[in-house]
């Protein structure tokens, strides 16, 4: 009785998952299809759309910019998150609530409220139209701080006591006890950071003047933000394909690892 119910249920679950995968994945499938299929005059497999998209803008350069921006931000946010997260998890000190609140504010404040002021700051530092200028307001990530703080909090005190008894000082303790536990949280935060910054559009648009520092999403906007005439959908699909294919590849290759990371982190214990 329990067996058939279970089997039936498994089949149903499988069906539901497949349906969800199809619906959720359909737009991506369409993008790939429309990129390589022909438009009104031609039909069949074509690289013409990709060529057209690449003609509009130097997508190669854009992709390099994006990789640099996303990679550097990942590193900076990660390191800062580790340090600040650790301090917040491990120590008490006067003003701790205020400090925590400051980092939490980073998660909460909407972009448009601070857009102009941030632009003026970056401008004052003469960092307009540079990758550094794009990255600067994002260098500290409240989500990284929170994620790592939780990960460190989850480490039982006994482990640290044991290490201390072995004679390690704080740095050693950090390296041997806390750091190894941080892997999953790091991957989880990495996914959040990469997906956000890979697709962040408005801020880089405002800050960049030329192709020098432009990330690839702005190149996409060149195709999409038509002012007067209607859209050329195949070109848009091609541009989108250029933007998402690298990330998709990483995702496909690393699916299990990414999933595993999320399923063993965020242990709110």
């Amino acid at each position: 009785m329990g067996v058939t119910w279970r089997a039936w249920r498994r089949g149903l679950e499988g069906g539901v998952l497949a349906a969800v995968a199809l619906i959720w994945g359909f737009p991506t499938l369409w993008v790939l299809y429309a990129t390589f299929a022909g438009t009104g005059h031609t039909s069949g497999f074509t690289l013409g759309n990709l060529a057209g998209a690449l003609q509009t803008a130097p997508f190669g350069e854009y992709t390099v910019n994006t990789i640099i921006i996303v990679g550097t931000l990942l590193l900076t946010q990660g390191i800062v998150g580790l340090i600040v997260g650790f301090i917040l998890a491990r120590y008490d000190f006067p003003g701790k609530s205020i400090v925590t609140a400051i980092f939490l504010l980073q998660i909460v404040v909407p972009v448009y409220a601070v857009l102009i002021q941030d632009y003026q700051i970056v401008q004052g530092l003469h960092l307009l139209n540079t990758r550094l200028g794009i990255m600067l307001p994002y260098a500290v990530s409240g989500i990284a701080v929170v994620a790592f703080r939780q990960a460190f909090r989850a480490v039982p005190r006994e482990l640290e006591e044991a290490a201390r008894l072995d004679g390690y000082d704080m740095l050693g303790v950090f390296r041997r006890v806390y750091l190894p536990r941080v892997g999953p949280a790091a991957i989880a935060f990495a996914v959040i950071s990469v997906t956000f910054h890979w697709t962040d559009f408005l801020w880089p648009l405002i800050v960049t003047n030329s192709d020098a520092a432009r990330p690839v999403v702005v190149g996409l906007a060149l195709l999409a933000e038509a002012s007067e005439s209607g859209l050329q959908w195949n070109l848009l699909a091609a541009g989108t394909a250029i933007v998402i294919i690298p990330v998709l590849i990483v995702f496909v290759v690393g699916t299990r690892r990414i999933l595993a990371a999320f399923t063993s982190t965020f242990d709110w214990r």
């Binding site: 995968a21 959720w24 740095l171 559009f201 999403v217 998402i244």
Partner: protein, 313 residues
Amino acid sequence: MSTLVEPASQASPGPAKAGPGARWLAGPGVRYLLMLPPALMVIGFVVYPMVQTVIHSFYRLDGLGRVIGFAGFGNYSALFANPVFMQVLRNTAIYTVFAVVLSIALAFALALLLTNRGIVNRLLLVGIFSPTVMPTIAAANIWLYFLAPQFGLVTELLGKVGISQANILGEPGSALGALVALFVWKYAPYFTLFLMAGLQSIPQNVREAMRTEDPHGWQSLRKVVLPIMAPMLAFVVTLAVIYAMETIDPIYVMTQGGPANGTNLVMFYLYQLGFNYYAWGPAAALSALLLGGLSSLSALSLIALERRAFHWA
């Protein structure tokens, strides 16, 4: 809460296993030093501009955002006096509730399904999680295409199931629904990841017990899973609310707030006020309100988190 632990190395007689500078490194001064640059960054790029905006909200501002006089609550009353704003509030409330509830419910279901299955086809996984990597601009344009009246793919599908002449984006109600659908499509997989993590924190023995004592799972869902997941759920719900209230890109691309302001949501309205109408005073007031609302929400949920975080020790 965490207790104060002073580094023992200064008193411990054991062999030092790090360089001579390590002692100084562990001191309290260093902590402040290490936290200072990041804190300053956040203060510079986030806190200070917000404070400035809140202050400005009590002044009259010209078309270029410069202060030209005191306004008291004038900007706020101007904001609320505008019927469009009231509609925006209503739209945003409806949208946020539906978007959050639907995306979290779906994410939870997906999390349960995926966790129980163990090995899931890689293709399925990529399909489910693909919306996360597509930039909203692109996704919005693609959905615009799918939803085109008469000939968009979705419209044709609807025609086949009996809903003819559908014009999803052309009517305020269904347009808002389309935006909700876009939100769920984009974020449910994202939240699924978090919730899957939350499910993992159920200890193995408890899972065994659930499996034997409650094969159908409903009881354990209510009595065991949900309470354990509460902190994670609170966190994800907070994220969902923040993301929902900050929705703007799809509106930009698909509806421009229309038809007839039916999809004008609060972030888009903020953009309109500032960059289209040059009404920087009311814009500042709205920013201040948003800040207040969103921060209190986050604070509440994070307090809930702190309380529960040590529940299942």
